[in-house]
């Protein structure tokens, strides 16, 4: 009777716990979604930055033309005159996700625009990602840790930075796919169910569709399998978790056009095949061990080892030969720069020129994962007691993620979920220990601690600390509570201030209130309404995606930096004198040249500040552009000490044309100096548009001069006079 009562009570309590954690999860989802809406509230519902504009444009195309046209899309509005095969070079996961969402909503007669769907895709998926984190951590350390980890993931600044509303980028859905794939892997590992293994392969397929970071999965799981085998943790569950993933996953991955045969041809995937072989050998060994007597087994081992060694040697030899035969040793530039952090800066200036490919600094660790950095070691320790297959996977995950994030600041994003899981485990374990006395007092409340730990989302942590005040760990827990509060403040601050600016519209606070700089869209709107549909616009590649998406004009280069020579051509044109630049642009059919200039209002990431990269990339292909020509004693300057090459290059001229007339001195607010050459004329370009704050300036190429000489006297005279003027300006001292 009494036992029945107790079990009944437990089941009710369990049900209560489940319902509670269900509601907590919903709240976590709401929290994850709403903390990312600062950008919409503070600015507007708009797509952010550069790459999201491309994704948005692709999504628009998909919703307008349908899936088949999307696969076959050859985009002739970019990389003129080469064009780009979008269907075959883009990770379609994000686009298809948002396209499907839009399609579902519209078939329910909810007329949301494609833009709205795109803007809110990232926050929606961050809610999914925090639920996936809950599932993964629950598999590792139980629901309490899961809830804590989910809360942490919902607010971790590193992830917020890539998933605020409007930042419609691959990472937005990929982090969810990554965590969910890991969850299914661990779930399969724990259950040994083929059902989950199949789901795992499908989740992996979604990840491959979404992001190039899928190679992380296909390298991490083999590493984990290998670790398990080495530590003697081989089981049939491990086999079921791994073998279907490799077979199905690789088959599915090669269905994605952008991956295709790379799924079996490039070195990023070889580790998985190697481990696939190893796990089969090990499985065979265990099988034979099961059916043979120990004596016979020893004989068999010697036999198998000798044969196996030979086979392995042969396979490895073939692999090595394959790898060696490809020029980059089978590795793509970005992957190589992962293995060798100095690779990019040495060989590929285009990769090095992107700030998110730089190694991070220490402050950025604090900025992005904050207090989690201190909780991670505790989490690792908690994972070791006791060590299971699942917890060893998480440990491996955090270790590799820490390494990768140290190489490339962008991969901080991969570290964030790992850090959240670890910290979740650490906090939950800590509460388990600190609340033990309560449990002793109420011995028939076994479900309590979990629920309570889960409840420890944000604020109740302080309460539970108050509960445990009687204990000796009083001081520590208090400290942690305050730290936790600080973290909360930090996360909200990061979400609201640091990561919400759409970068397409800028604001500044001054004495007379908020000032909005909307120059980019002003320029793009002007281009889209007042130039011919087929005009070509040349700009540095940063603005390529935005120009095609917002102005709908053909660009020469864009942010998909697949053709170095083409970018170098534009870089060369920008660093050449006017006449040479005009010839280059004329040969590319360019009609308008767009430069970004922050000197009037102090916008620091303008083209003059990026100019050295143009010189470097241009000089990498066209050796007559030499970086030292643009530097005075190794210093980059645009004032009167600047070199003549610098003062005569196109970028300088287009940026500072008639700039001196604004204040009479030509004081550049970004470089904090007066410009070197103040009065000059443009012979081959004419200013057709400059935005309100001068941040974007658009020039039109003058048509080629009439070659007939002597027939019309007046014309040749005019030519002569401009010629002499130009000569005059050239002699003009700087």
């Amino acid at each position: 009777m009494a036992t029945a009562d107790a079990s009944n009570g437990t089941s009710i309590r369990n049900a209560f716990g489940n319902v509670l954690s269900f509601f907590i999860l919903i709240l976590i989802g709401v929290l994850a979604f709403s903390i990312r809406l600062f950008s919409v509230i503070k600015y507007e519902s708009v797509i952010h930055e550069f790459d999201p504009y491309f994704n948005y444009r692709v999504t628009q195309y998909l919703t307008k033309k349908g899936i088949y046209d999307f696969w076959n899309w050859f985009d002739d509005r970019t990389w003129y005159p080469l064009g780009r095969v979008i269907g075959g070079t883009v990770y379609p996961g994000l686009t298809l996700t948002a396209g499907t969402l839009w399609w579902i909503l519209n078939s329910l007669n909810i007329p949301l625009s494609v833009e709205t769907v795109c803007v809110f895709t990232a926050p929606i998926f961050s809610a999914f990602a925090s639920w996936a984190t809950y599932l993964l951590t629950k598999e590792v350390k139980g629901p309490g840790a899961g809830l804590t980890a989910a809360v942490l993931l919902a607010v971790v600044p590193s992830y917020i930075s890539r998933s605020v509303a409007g930042s419609y980028d691959n990472e937005a859905v990929a982090i969810f796919a990554l965590i969910f794939t890991f969850y299914l892997y661990v779930k399969t590992l724990n259950t040994g169910s083929l059902f989950y293994a199949t789901l795992n392969a499908i989740a992996y397929f979604y990840m491959v569709c979404s992001w190039g970071g899928y190679t992380f999965i296909i390298n991490l799981t083999p590493m984990h399998v290998l670790l398990c085998i080495i530590t003697g943790r081989y089981s049939s569950r491990l086999y079921i978790a791994y073998a279907p993933l490799v077979v199905l996953g690789t088959l599915l991955a090669s269905l994605v056009p952008v991956v295709g045969f790379n799924a079996v041809m490039t070195s990023e995937h070889f580790a998985s095949f190697l481990v696939f072989i190893i796990i089969h050998v090990v499985a065979l060994v265990y099988y034979i061990k099961g059916i043979l007597s120990p004596k016979m087994f020893r004989v068999a081992v010697t036999l198998v080892v000798s044969v196996g060694l030979a086979v392995c040697c042969a396979v490895i030899a073939i692999l090595v030969a394959l790898v060696a035969s490809s020029p980059t040793k089978g590795w793509s530039g970005r992957s190589l720069s992962l293995l060798d952090p100095t690779y990019a800066s040495k060989y590929i200036p285009i990769i090095a020129s992107v700030s998110e490919h730089q190694p991070p600094t220490w402050p950025s660790y604090f900025m992005d994962i904050n207090v989690l950095a201190f909780l991670v070691p505790a989490g690792i320790i908690a994972c070791f007691s006791p060590l299971s297959d699942a917890s060893s996977f998480v440990i491996l995950y955090i270790v590799t993620a820490v390494y990768f994030s140290g190489v490339m600041v962008r991969l901080m994003l991969v570290l964030a979920p790992a850090a959240c899981i670890m910290s979740g485990i650490a906090l939950s374990e800590a509460f388990d220990i600190f609340t033990r006395s309560i449990k002793f007092q109420l011995p028939h409340h076994p479900g309590h601690s979990h629920v309570h730990a889960g409840n420890a989302s944000l604020d109740s942590i302080v309460e539970s600390d108050n509960v445990s005040k009687t204990e000796k760990s009083d001081d520590i827990s208090k400290e942690r509570g305050s730290k936790k509060n600080k973290k909360k403040v930090h996360c909200v601050w990061a979400a609201a201030e640091a990561y919400s600016a759409p970068s397409i519209v800028l604001t500044s606070h001054s004495d007379d209130g908020l000032h909005v700089f909307d120059d980019f869209r002003e320029a793009y709107a002007w281009l889209s309404h007042n130039t011919d549909v087929d005009d070509k616009v040349a700009s540095w590649w940063d603005y390529g995606y935005q120009t095609t998406a917002m102005a709908n004009r053909t660009v020469i280069v864009d942010n998909n930096t697949w053709n170095n020579t083409h970018i170098a051509t534009v870089g060369t044109a920008m660093s050449s004198p006017e006449k040479a630049a005009w010839e280059i642009f004329q040969s590319l059919d360019v009609k308008y040249v767009l430069v970004v200039f922050g000197g009037l209002v102090g916008y620091p990431s303008d083209d003059i500040n990026k100019f050295l990269w143009m010189v470097r990339i241009g000089g990498g292909v066209f050796p007559h552009i030499k970086e030292p020509d643009y530097l005075r004693d190794g210093q980059y300057r645009i004032d009167s000490m600047a070199t003549p090459t610098m003062l005569n290059c196109l970028m300088y001229k287009l940026s500072y044309f008639r700039f001196v007339e604004t204040d009479g001195k030509g004081f550049d607010r970004v470089r904090q100096t007066e410009i070197g050459k103040k009065y000059f004329k443009l012979a081959h370009f004419e200013e057709v548009f400059t935005t309100h704050h001068w941040m974007v300036r658009i020039y039109k190429l003058k048509p080629p001069k009439n070659r007939i000489r002597g027939k019309k006297k007046s014309k040749s005279k005019a030519n002569l006079s401009t010629g002499s003027k130009r000569r005059g300006s050239r002699r003009n001292p700087f």
């Binding site: 708009v46 007329p111 397409i504 909005v516 869209r521 007339e661």
Partner: protein, 467 residues
């Protein structure tokens, strides 16, 4: 010399027109115009012509209609013709609006088209009546030079006749042309012609036979913003939950002399009076009072430069397109706002409902080439009927919006050549059963209900194959 030639040409034209008129129109000779005074206002790009006619019946039978004649090019650009009869003298003058309709019937000489004013009381023999006519022409100023640079001001041609084109004999007439500034490059002289500061006076001319015509050309400076909305779509969505949502999609163009060559921001910012005088950067939209949730955006996001002033009688939205508009430059944008339903939706005595809203474009001083007014009625409304005081094209559409099943009926009114004078109320009558308001909430409730029932039954039933 020149004047002489012109005079001769004029005589020739008069002769021809006289001849033609004798051929075609004999019946209308029952009337004659004793005195005609025309005031042409050229100060903006919307040309307003105020015509005062004193009509006398010289025939035998009473006449109830007066015809106005327009040349084919005028008809093409004619936006509206309004007429009123004047009664009383001097200070006690009252105006009685009269009906005006376009007449197809007798095609006049050289493609002349007619508009007929219907008099309230037929004009008996020997009686006179004074009529005030206002007609508005759009897109009738032709920029010359066609392209101007940033520092130049905009010069335009205006073509008309010094003598009123009329199917009737005109005893005496005068025409005044008002230009926006004193800068008039040239104007045709048809003696007697006088020019005093911003006004050019043609006439008085005596005893002109029907269909007299004396072409004139005025070349003058007009730097007013030539803001033309090429297409405006106004969508008025009625929700019986208490809101009227208006969405207006504009495609705006500066229809003046095209901008040529360089646009220099430094000149534009430092010498505001000297450069870009014909360009404009503000537009004023007059919205209904009590508007809320106003937005102003375009295809690539919110446009941050707008100001809203509201008071009890009106709301004014001062909008600034993303960039100043020079000649030939275009821009598209959307203005949206909500207004309380009770201000615009009323119940008619027969139990139906009607919407009373303003037709036309809220932007001040703009011409709309093509205006589409779409009234989206709530789902389930029946028998829509639009009532409007001037001719428009009408048809019905179906629109699917939030969670609609059968779709909402849309009454589409289409009109070309719309000027601010078209901003008069129109009505859309329809019948609506309030029970339909609950359709969508009930649908949602039942969807969730079935979802939960499915979830509960899934959890309580055992679907496994093995027992």
């Amino acid at each position: 010399m020149d004047a002489l030639l012109r005079a001769r040409l004029l005589h020739l034209a008069l002769l021809i027109s006289l001849f033609l008129s004798v051929l075609s129109q004999a019946s209308s000779q029952e009337l004659q115009i004793v005195n005609a005074e025309r005031r042409i206002d050229l100060t903006s790009h919307i040309i307003k012509v105020y015509l005062t006619l004193k009509v006398e019946n010289v025939g035998e039978s009473p006449v109830s209609e007066v015809n106005l004649a327009f040349s084919p090019s005028e008809v093409e650009h004619l936006a509206i013709v309004k007429a009123a009869a004047t009664t009383g003298k001097k200070k006690k003058k009252t105006y009685v609006p009269l009906g005006v309709k376009s007449t197809e019937q007798p095609a006049g000489p050289n493609g002349t088209k007619y508009f007929t004013i219907i008099l309230l009381n037929p004009l008996g023999k020997g009686e006179t009546a004074t009529l005030e006519v206002l007609y508005i022409l759009t897109r009738s100023l032709e920029p010359f030079p066609v392209e101007i640079s940033q520092s130049e001001s905009q010069l335009v041609y205006f073509r008309d006749s010094a003598i009123l084109l009329s199917p009737y004999h005109v005893k005496q007439q005068t025409t005044f042309i008002k230009t926006p500034s004193t800068r008039v490059e040239s104007f045709t002289v048809v003696e007697p012609t006088k020019r005093a500061s911003t006004e050019i006076k043609y006439g008085p001319y005596e005893n002109q036979p029907p269909y007299s015509y004396a072409p004139i050309l005025v070349h003058f400076e007009n730097n007013n913003p030539f803001a033309v909305v090429e297409e405006l779509e106004r969508e008025i969505e009625i929700s019986h939950w208490g809101n009227l949502q208006v969405t207006e999609r504009y495609s705006l163009v500066h229809a003046g002399a095209r901008h040529k060559g360089v646009f220099s921001r430094v000149d534009y910012q430092t010498k505001p009076g000297n450069t870009g005088v014909s360009s404009f950067k503000h537009l004023l939209a007059r919205l209904p009072p009590r508007v809320h949730s106003v937005y102003y955006r375009d295809g690539i996001g919110n446009i941050s430069s707008s100001r809203l002033r509201t008071d009890f009688f009106k709301s004014e939205l001062l909008i600034e397109p993303r960039y100043p508009l020079f000649g030939g430059w275009k821009s598209t944008f959307v203005i949206g706002y909500g207004v309380p339903l009770e201000d615009f939706l009323f119940e008619s005595p027969d139990g139906g409902r009607y919407l009373n809203f303003t037709f036309g474009c809220p932007l001040a001083d703009t011409v709309v080439d093509k205006l589409l007014v779409k009234v989206v009625l709530p789902e389930g409304s029946k028998d829509p009927k639009a009532v409007i005081s001037f001719p428009v094209e009408q048809h019905l559409e179906i629109k699917h919006s939030y969670l609609d099943v059968v779709g909402r009926t849309v009454v589409v009114l289409e009109k070309r050549n719309v000027v601010p004078e078209h901003n008069i109320p129109f009505q859309v009558h329809y019948n609506f059963n309030p029970i339909f308001m609950l359709a969508e909430p009930l649908m949602l409730v039942s969807a969730f209900f079935f979802f939960f029932v499915a979830a509960v039954s899934y959890l309580h039933l055992d679907f496994s194959i093995r027992k």
